[in-house]
Point group: C2
Chain length 209, copies 2
Amino acid sequence: MNARRKFRREGEERRRQDLIDATLDSVAEHGLEGATLRTIALRAGVTAGLIRHYFPGKEDLLQEAYAALMGRMTEQAKAALAMEDASPRQRLAAFVTANLDAPIIDQRVFSLWATFIGRAGADPALARAHREGYLGFRNEVETVVAEVLAAERRKPDAAELRHHAIAINAIIDGLWIEGCLAGEMFSPGELAAIGIKAVEAELGLAPLS
Amino acid sequence: MNARRKFRREGEERRRQDLIDATLDSVAEHGLEGATLRTIALRAGVTAGLIRHYFPGKEDLLQEAYAALMGRMTEQAKAALAMEDASPRQRLAAFVTANLDAPIIDQRVFSLWATFIGRAGADPALARAHREGYLGFRNEVETVVAEVLAAERRKPDAAELRHHAIAINAIIDGLWIEGCLAGEMFSPGELAAIGIKAVEAELGLAPLS
DNA sequence: GGCGTTGTTGTGCAAGTGTATAAATAGCCT
DNA sequence: AGGCTATTTATACACTTGCACAACAACGCC
């Protein structure tokens, strides 16, 4: 009796990914405080001791989990900008829409983002990770804005461009939060429509007739 | 030897307030996980056992701390709308400015907000508290917007008004986050200026000459 | 098939957690 | 000054936590 538990050996990459996913699930559900090694291991279908085999300590696991989360978020958002055969204005609209519809608008993702970012003030490594992601995102915005305005035969200077990018970034972030926290208050596509209109107003674009 | 520690008896209201402040400090510095009763008590200059004398349990202390935080945030923001002798447009601009300068733009406050709001997905009471605060805030915005547009002799319908309020709310929230997380990237007053311009563009107001 | 490697389990441990409760004392009332 | 009472300290306790380590067994290789 008291037979030892059966198990399977998974590939290293697979196990690490499973553990990271289990970590994100645990943090989203119970917060950083409730995400214990045992909870995480249970969710991943292994025992707690195994985590130490793949990660030096809990802190490292959390950091890798945060990096994975940010990677997935920015990856999906930037994909919308990659459309080759579309006008700058269309690509900007697609970018806004991509950021304000599923799967980016998601309460679980938001909980994770908030939980981690809440520690940015105390954790310099985390703060730096955010800063880089933010600046990258804003640069993407700034590039599209420049193209949109160029197509309108307007020549904004650098400061003007920067201000537009900051404002548009804020519009997207703000609407993202509203959607994540109170998604059912908005009809599908409503946030995206509001976002596009606000962005076009910011840029002084005439409404499409 | 081993003398018992000296202490002073404070008034009940004072002690509760001190404990709540110490709780917010601890959460901002160490996150929810690191905010232990002993840490909080140390910061408040008392011993851990005393907390139980004022709060039934740790959870209650955290809830009251969150409520206090939200109260302070909204109180300061709404005050800007109370200016009696000012045009609607001036009051709207003052509102935006009040939300995008110190002391609302503050990394510590942001850390607290993010840490708590990250649990809104799992904690219904917290989610409801946020929802109410958010709707109240948005209603304030909607009211001013209606006054501003009325002063311009424009008659927006309800849906239009709602969309404006949502967008303006997003602009303020988004810029607030940017300022809190990367305050030193912006010159003083820059965020407020960007915010006012973005809001006026959203409402289609002609720039003041 | 047997064997070694190593991914995986299970157990142990010291430190820290929230809560309960007894003991002490500060401050008010007379 | 002396006692009463409620605030405050101090200690105890059961439990959880992250981490360390020895035993084990799944899988590849010969």
